[in-house]
């Protein structure tokens, strides 16, 4: 009983999502563990196309949702079978529309009973768990990714398509860096052209130069002293010398 309820409840949310998305998920779901999922997924597109369920049916679903108790799963399993029977009818109606749905339905029909026990949780959830099925699907997918053993890639965990891009970019960067740094080094060397750092001790050449400069200064000082010295000898008081001063 509860199975029908959840199914109907899930109809509006499933209608909201785009068709193609559902299809993809359906395709992914094919590799999924639970076949019940397949059945549920294959149901979804059909569900959307189904006419709006009757008010009476909606009432029933609401009642079921109220009364739903996850502890009652076993019971619901029996009821689920009945519901499955109900569910089959609408799919059968739509058989001509979609091949994959057909296949899904057929396989779903075959495996229905076998999977009923495993699908009980989903079945018990029914329409309510339609959303949860989606969550569960995500959970399963996520767990699969997390349990994957990553190759020891220096690039880190990247989706495969992006990996190539990143690798290409890194390679490009490395290539670029080499000529850039070389160009920079050349520029710096050209700027320093001719700049010579002096050594700690004086070279002989420099010593010679200092000597020459010293000689020059000495000559000047001697000339100055010669020019200025006689003044001191002169006596400013005497008139004759005063003129010279």
């Amino acid at each position: 009983m509860a199975a029908a309820g959840p199914q109907a409840v899930s109809a509006p949310p499933s209608a909201a999502a785009p068709n193609s998305g559902k299809r993809k998920r359906a395709a992914k779901g094919k590799g999924g563990k639970s076949k019940k999922k397949k059945l549920a997924r294959s149901d979804e597109p059909i569900r959307r196309r189904a006419n709006k369920p009757s008010a009476k049916f909606l009432k029933l679903l609401k009642k079921r949702a109220r009364d739903y108790n996850s502890d009652d799963d076993e019971e619901e399993g029996e009821e689920g079978e009945q519901q499955r029977g109900q569910r089959e009818r609408p799919p059968r109606r739509r058989n001509d529309d979609h091949d994959d749905d057909e296949e899904g339905d057929l396989s779903g029909d075959d495996d229905e009973e076998a999977a009923s026990s495993s699908g009980d949780e989903a079945g018990g959830g029914g329409g309510v768990t339609r959303f949860e099925e989606g969550c569960r699907a995500f959970r399963v997918a996520f767990q699969k990714i997390m349990s994957k053993k990553l190759p020891d890639d220096p690039l880190g965990p990247i989706l495969s398509a992006h990996k190539k891009l990143v690798a290409a970019k890194l390679a490009e960067e490395v290539d670029e860096r080499k000529p850039k740094s070389e160009a920079r080094k050349e520029k710096r060397a050209a700027a320093e052209k001719g700049h010579v750092l002096p050594k700690d001790h004086l070279e002989t050449h420099d010593k010679e130069l200092i000597k020459i400069a010293t000689q020059g200064v000495v000559r000047l000082f001697n000339a100055v002293s010669k020019a200025q010295k006689p003044r001191n000898d002169l006596n400013p008081s005497s008139t004759r010398d005063a003129k010279a001063v």
């Binding site: 700027a191 700049h195 010579v196 200064v217 000495v218 000047l220 100055v224 200025q228």
Partner: protein, 351 residues
């Protein structure tokens, strides 16, 4: 730093912005006419043309310090300033010499020119070292800021006997700094030396800048230190003061050189170097060090006829000769020897 008066609109492309504060200081400190000799004091601008790397900018600043005080230390130049702008400003300020740094084809060049239509000497700087590099290489760098208050003495060597263009170059260097009158100059104002030595074989000119230090000769090191430090020495381990004086100390190796460099001072230079005492002249290198090669001489300011290297015209021998003669006539002959060429007065003293 901008004086409020010299706002942005005022210059109108008339040349480098010289902040009014600097202008006033310059005019106060560096009168146009020398008080003593009456001759015009040569002033200089050191600037650069084109893009130059940062090391050359440091060299430019060092050269400005060499040319102090008669130069614009904080000269600001803009990209759009032409040579003409500098010329326009040079006139009213009384600037007579330009030193232009440039870096064509990544080779640093230095142009020395005389304004307004003087000859231009272009040197290629083959090697250079900054003042900071030299200070780093010395154990005791000595560069008290007071030594930049007076112009340096210029010492030229090796330029004689090589004819043109070196004769005119000698004249140029002589007049780059204000003349020194031996009769009136105070020895305490002679604190720096600029040495330019020409090496004929290599064809290069060495540029060196030293600071002058006078050291009294015949005074033991201890006494000298005592006078300098003004501190009472430590006499704990000595029994007698005479021990302090007579204790054998190490003689410095440079004392031998001092004998050749001894001068007798006329006046008191400072506390240690008194009048009529013997002192030794000791130089220590400051400032940039350059090795330059003369590559071009032009008769105008970065324009005009190329006087050196002598242009070779094939099959026109006579033209060459006349050109050579003209060049000689332009420059006045001025005998120069290995002696300080500080002013024309010097020649008279040597007679």
């Amino acid at each position: 730093m901008r004086h409020p008066k010299s706002g942005r609109g005022k210059r109108r492309g008339r040349g480098p912005r010289i902040p009014a504060a600097v202008l006033r200081k310059q005019q106060a400190a560096a009168p146009n006419v020398d008080q003593v000799t009456g001759a015009k004091i040569p002033k200089s601008f050191v600037f650069s043309r084109g893009k130059i790397p940062s090391t050359l900018r440091h060299l430019q600043q060092d050269l400005r310090k060499v040319m102090l005080p008669y130069t614009a230390l904080n000269l600001k130049e803009k990209k759009r300033n032409n040579l003409k702008d500098f010329l326009n400003v040079a006139g009213p300020l009384g600037v007579t010499h330009f030193m232009i740094l440039s870096n064509p084809k990544s080779l640093p060049h230095l142009r020395m020119a005389k304004t307004p239509q003087g000859p231009t000497y272009t040197f290629q700087i083959e090697e250079y070292a900054l003042a900071a590099d030299i200070a780093n290489s010395q154990k005791r760098p000595r560069c008290p800021p007071g030594i930049f208050k007076n112009s340096p003495l210029v010492v030229l060597s090796g330029f004689t006997g090589h004819g043109e263009p070196y004769k005119s170059l000698v004249q140029y260097f002589q007049y780059m700094v204000p003349a020194i009158d031996p009769n009136t100059v105070k020895l305490s104002t002679c604190q720096r030396v600029l040495l330019l030595k020409y090496d004929k074989e290599k064809g290069i000119v060495d540029f060196r800048h030293y600071s002058i230090k006078l050291q009294p000769v015949g005074v033991s090191r201890k006494i000298r230190k005592l006078m300098q430090n003004n501190q009472v020495p430590d006499l704990r381990d000595l029994k007698d003061v005479s021990d302090y004086m007579t204790k054998a100390g190490y003689g410095s190796e440079s004392e031998v050189d001092d004998e050749a460099a001894t001068v007798s001072l006329v006046s008191d230079v400072d506390k240690l170097n008194r009048a009529s005492r013997k002192s030794a002249v000791r130089l220590q290198e400051i400032g940039p060090r350059m090795t330059m090669r003369l590559v071009k001489v032009e008769s105008g300011l970065c324009s005009g006829d190329v006087l050196y290297p002598v242009p070779v015209v094939k099959g026109e021998q006579t033209e060459e000769e006349t050109e050579g003669q003209e060049a000689e006539d332009d420059e006045s002959a001025d005998g120069s020897e290995d002696e300080p060429e500080d002013g024309s007065q010097d020649d008279t003293e040597d007679e």
